[in-house]
């Protein structure tokens, strides 16, 4: 099982994503934005960071990278694709996901362990969760406010395409507390919070049991591995 992680100029969490993939039991494959080659991977992660310094709009210039032609084609063909934070922004800019991400309503960057509720446990990346399950993973963004037109929002809600929702507090002004959405098929998921930072005891969010013991994020990666094994 090979899962590619695309590095763009300004990517920040590509190594963390690769580590999460390895801990989940798959082989991470480093991919480069400037190539037209997915190296026969089975799934893709677009990692977090500040590609092109967030110039123009977050994720906008990266969404025009050479490799994005292959990413878009693979995603439309059903390959599981997860965009995290800046990767989520790229997926909206590439029109693989609807809506957009704008500057946090309070104007400040936010970094915190964030409570989330998994609303859709049927996507390729959330099959290992139970619907309604509450989890905690880190969130860190300056432009994480999810917005969409009223029609789009209604469709996303009606079709169960809100994958995760903020609980406890809305950290960035996202409409309907939306933290992540999927495409209609459920293979493309965008998340503003960072599951790759909650995959290993000792380095995750605090839990009631122990400091930094939270590993809720690993399930996004084990979910896609299990999904691909079933369909293999």
């Amino acid at each position: 099982m090979r899962i590619g992680v695309v590095t763009f100029p300004g990517s920040l969490d590509d190594r963390d994503a690769a580590r999460a993939i390895r801990l989940a039991g798959a082989e991470p494959v480093a991919l480069w934005h400037g190539e037209h080659d997915l190296h026969d991977v089975d799934a893709l992660v677009l990692p977090g960071g500040f590609s092109y310094g967030d110039y123009l709009r977050c994720g906008a210039i990266a969404s025009l990278s050479p490799i994005m032609a292959e990413v878009i084609s693979a995603a439309n063909g059903g390959m599981p694709v997860l965009g995290i934070c800046n990767g989520f922004q790229m997926l909206t800019e590439a029109h693989l996901l609807e809506g957009g991400l704008i500057r946090n309503d309070h104007g400040s960057f936010i970094c915190r362990d964030q409570g989330l509720r998994v609303e859709n446990a049927l996507t390729d990346w959330t099959g290992g969760f139970a619907a309604g399950q509450e989890i905690t993973i880190p969130l860190k963004n300056g432009e994480g406010g999810f917005i969409a037109s009223a029609d789009t929002l209604e469709r996303l809600e009606g079709e169960g395409r809100v994958v995760v929702r903020y609980v406890g507090m809305n950290p960035n002004g996202s409409l309907n507390d939306i933290a992540g959405i999927s495409n209609a098929r459920g293979n493309v998921v965008g998340l503003m919070p960072h599951p790759e930072h909650a995959v290993e005891p000792g380095f995750g969010p605090d839990t009631d049991d122990a400091m930094r013991s939270g590993t809720d994020g690993i399930t996004f990666f084990t979910s896609v591995i299990e999904r691909m094994l079933v369909s293999a």
Binding site: L56, R57, A60, L64, T92, E93, E98, G99, G100, I102, R103, N104, D105, H106, G107, G145, I147, A148, S149, G173
Partner: protein, 89 residues
Amino acid sequence: MPTIVVEVMPKAELLDPQGKAVAGALGRLGKTRFTSVRLGKRFEITVDGHVDDAVLAEVQELADTVLSNSVIEDVVGIHVLEAPAGETH
């Protein structure tokens, strides 16, 4: 060489946190006459050659697809910058 200006603004119905922050600073300076600020982008695109309808159509398309994101922004103006006095084409 001629320059084409493209202006992009955040959609009016969306919160513009940058504009709001600037408006807050004006308020703190005592500039109470100015009640709100919205903050957008201006692109200046230099063209190799003449600007004709085809070039303007191409810029319009780029403005709609690359320079702006129609989910969050509107293209509010496209115009050719007047050449500075004395410059010849």
